[in-house]
Symmetry: C2
Subunit: 254 residues, 2 copies
DNA sequence: CGCCCGCTTGAGATAAATCAAACACGGTGG
DNA sequence: CCACCGTGTTTGATTTATCTCAAGCGGGCG
């Protein structure tokens, strides 16, 4: 057996980070979750049409753990509660494409007929939560407001993917990297995780490379140039944006 | 004023191709539409929970006509009935990225809070149909079966975009072109429009270039190589796949 | 201690872009 | 009828962005 999600070694987070399966019977960490209101979670936690809370399975996973493989269809909807994860796909020749990065409040919708061919992997130790897909459906159908929220989330994800595709097709290496960092910055900023244009940043250069379609070597050179030009510095588990306006200008070739 | 969708000059399609606005009062061309059963249309035409048909606005547009610009939010859902169209986005420096191509039965869902920054343009003379977004909502909410269909369509579109992004990030020029052609072939094949691995194909090399993030010059060279290698030939408004297995192998680097 | 991982830097190779010219085709206007 | 123009394709020569290969360095860890 491999990659049991309940296994969690080297976990140095506070004791409140419980692991294993927990249903809504138990006190839920969602009650104190800081991103709850900003995430699609609020709909899922809000419950079904009849006001009954949806079943939750809170779990943890260690850094590098793969939460699911691409080809199995999944019955569950995953929500990241704490830490970082990413969705990726491996090509036959070993190349990897990273579709996107997920932080607290991000939702990975369960898959249906088709498999998307993407896996989900923990970038840091994480806490996450699974909802049962079959329960989500009545939740959305039961309340028009939930439907609107779901629809908006769906469209937003689609737009983001479309913008990513456009960037990969048309932007230079430096612009693609700038776009990635800026995109992450803005999402982290919305969760008030950016202070003084600096923020924890667990991505290695290899993750940046695989998300932008570049080589780690080239990413290293480009980041060096960014630092030299006083645009952006990434060291030691955090990034610091030295010149936000300049960074934005690089991407707003639009 | 510019680009009124009802304007349709140089239209040499048969007289059955009417233009202008038509509501469900009038006899609908959908009744004889060959792709109706295979498209999300079937849900929209099927009607709302109460069995009432949704309002339809059938129109036509001439080649090159832009059906909508990126930043205006739209209240309507567009369905292509006949002909080809594509969604694209223009960058400030004039570059264009083509997100995808649409043929009969393809749906462009209305946009909500966010604008996706993409325009819709007719590649050939087209017939298309608009539904009113506000009417679509009760239609989906009213019938779980419609919800499932909508969900499936939504996920499928998402998966397709993700696959496109992965291809742009990791595949070579030849592989990207092969993927595009193959992708179109398979969709056309599902509509029984491919005979003897040959099919009408209105894209110019510039469209292929803008969809794959390449230069027209390089597309021309790559297509020449394809023809010389007996893989694929594109001439004169149609493509002919000379070696389907070989073409698939190029892409199934997977 | 030695090893693996991640980052950096250099030198050379290559895929694709750029610049440039020519051609084919259909339409249009004199 | 011809001259002309716009659009689309092809081909050649050169440039450039990015990759590949290779080596070295530092830190964490068994």
């Amino acid at each position: 057996m491999h990659g049991n999600a309940a296994v969690c070694e080297g976990d140095d987070r506070p004791a409140t980070a419980m692991h294993g399966l927990r249903t809504s019977e138990n006190p839920s960490p969602c009650e104190t979750c800081p991103v709850r209101a900003k995430s699609f979670c609020r709909v899922l936690i809000g419950g079904s049409a009849h006001g009954r809370a949806l079943t939750q399975h809170h779990e943890t996973a260690a850094r590098r753990e793969i939460l699911f493989e691409p080809d199995r269809l999944r019955e569950n909807v995953y929500v990241i509660c704490d830490g970082w994860a990413f969705r990726f796909r491996r090509f036959e020749d070993g190349r990897r494409y990273i579709l996107n990065f997920l932080t607290a409040g991000d939702v990975v919708y369960g898959e249906f007929s088709e498999s998307p061919g993407f896996s989900l992997q923990a970038l840091t130790d994480i806490r996450y939560c699974q909802f049962v897909r079959a329960e989500v459906k009545p939740c959305i159908l039961g309340q028009p407001r939930n439907y609107d929220a779901w629809m908006a989330a769906c469209i937003a994800e689609r737009n983001e993917l479309a913008a990513t595709a456009a960037a990969l097709a048309q932007l230079s290496a430096a612009e693609r990297i700038a776009r990635l960092i800026l995109h992450l910055r803005d999402r982290l900023d919305a969760h008030e995780m950016v202070h003084n244009e600096s923020c924890v940043f667990p991505l290695r250069q290899t993750h940046i490379a695989d998300a932008t379609g570049l080589t780690t070597v080239h990413v290293s050179r480009t980041l060096s140039a960014f630092r030299k030009d006083g645009v952006l510095a990434i060291d030691d588990g955090k990034f610091t944006i030295l010149n936000l306006a300049k960074l934005r200008r690089m991407v707003e070739r639009k």
